[in-house]
Symmetry: C2
Subunit: 249 residues, 2 copies
């Protein structure tokens, strides 16, 4: 099992083979058994297999080809809508239109999503997460017709692998693990943590292709710029307000 987790790789190209409905149901049932807050199951997933709907979703994901090429696109949503509706029908006054409830349900959503991902990979499927979900949540809300108190948090494309990429490098474990309390990094620590990445031929070429002096500049100037991050911060906060998870000023 640890071997499976250690040897995984993200799959961005899929064969034409569809996922059998019984398999999809089995994976989702396994995922639903994962931990969640108070057993409220304040999440939902929209499984999109219809080609015309996948095409409608594509622009929200900046037309990344996985969306239309994968046999199934799963949009995982923080969802207090169903629970709120149940409360109202049971003479109970719901109070889940707030940021704390969003956080609890986003946490549950991601635990559910990642358990689905592990289950899918263990059955020979390949998956890819789409971070664009939090960039263009409003567009996704429209296409998938999500009601108030439902907001997309992440998307996974899934299918049978038509690709076998190399396993992606990771920083040494001490970069992300602290013992007992958080230990700040010295300049020397940072140099050591990033040394292998920075000297690799792959990242040196990547830096050169982007016409940058340092690998870090590819991130700050090209891939995840301050300007874009601030623009999409405002956009997701707006989506949270629109879906009633955050009070408007």
């Amino acid at each position: 099992m640890l071997e499976l987790l250690l040897n995984r790789r993200t799959i961005r190209k899929y064969t034409d083979e569809n996922i059998a409905p019984e398999l999809m149901t089995g994976l989702l049932n396994a995922a639903a058994q994962a931990s969640n807050t108070g057993n409220m199951q304040a999440y939902s997933v929209v499984v999109t297999t219809d080609n015309s709907l996948k095409k409608q979703l594509a622009p929200a994901h900046f037309n990344q080809p996985m969306i239309t090429q994968a046999p199934a696109v799963l949009t995982f949503c923080a969802d207090f809508s169903r629970f709120t509706q149940w409360c109202k029908l049971r003479n109970a006054e719901p109070g889940y239109d707030n940021f704390k409830s969003f956080m609890a349900s986003a946490i549950d959503t991601l635990i559910f999503a990642q358990t689905f991902a592990v289950a899918a990979e263990s059955e020979g499927l390949g998956i890819c997460y789409l971070g664009t979900t939090t960039y263009n949540a409003q567009e996704i809300i429209e296409v998938l017709q999500l009601p108030e108190l439902v907001i997309p948090v992440t998307t996974i494309t899934v299918g049978y692998p038509a690709d076998n990429p190399a396993i992606t490098d990771r920083l040494p474990l001490e970069s992300v693990v602290h013992y007992n309390t958080y230990k700040p990094f010295s300049e020397e620590d940072i140099n050591s943590i990033y040394a292998e990445k920075e000297k690799s031929a792959f990242y040196r070429q990547f830096t050169a292709e982007n016409n940058k002096e340092t690998l870090a500049q590819v991130f700050t100037d090209v891939r995840y710029t301050k300007k874009n991050n601030e623009f999409f911060s405002e956009k997701y906060l707006q989506a949270l307000k629109q879906q009633k998870f955050l009070v408007s000023e």
Copy 2:
């Protein structure tokens, strides 16, 4: 593997056996191979095994006994601190002090956390998530000495099981899965979805013990009240501002 996921249960009581450091490292390495945004690995985990520190953490988790009883307490944090420090040392202008970056890194944190949880369970350990992490983030920040751009998102207690609880019920899959687009529920749908839960002896007793008419009222009036949700919404938003993930008004 699906069997493992389907038969899991949350473990709240642990034996005195410590987790061997090599095993912990193996689990964390497996977890770090999970998907993350742009391979930035914008997360960290603080593994607390020191008894006096576990005691200091306990009040933030409302003194739930798992915190002091478990051999290890893992606080999973959204973390753009290390990455930002690297950028600054590489002549790159970081722009990760915003809500979008928090969302991306919280997503990666939870994918990392849940992969750790699955890995731990596959090795015979038992885990429990603590939702209290987003209630009292500021107190946790102080105990664990988290710098700016680091904020706790979830906590997992882990150890060898000293308990074998029943598998927890889940709603029927159609409660959380929508096909192609989101289908609103009718009153009949809601009645049907919650029927099994509401008629079970366990939840009827639970409702009676809480002196409530309906199970939903136990959630709205006792467990997750509007008043508390609003109080802790403000508190976590304050923590996000304090840690520089959200601009102060």
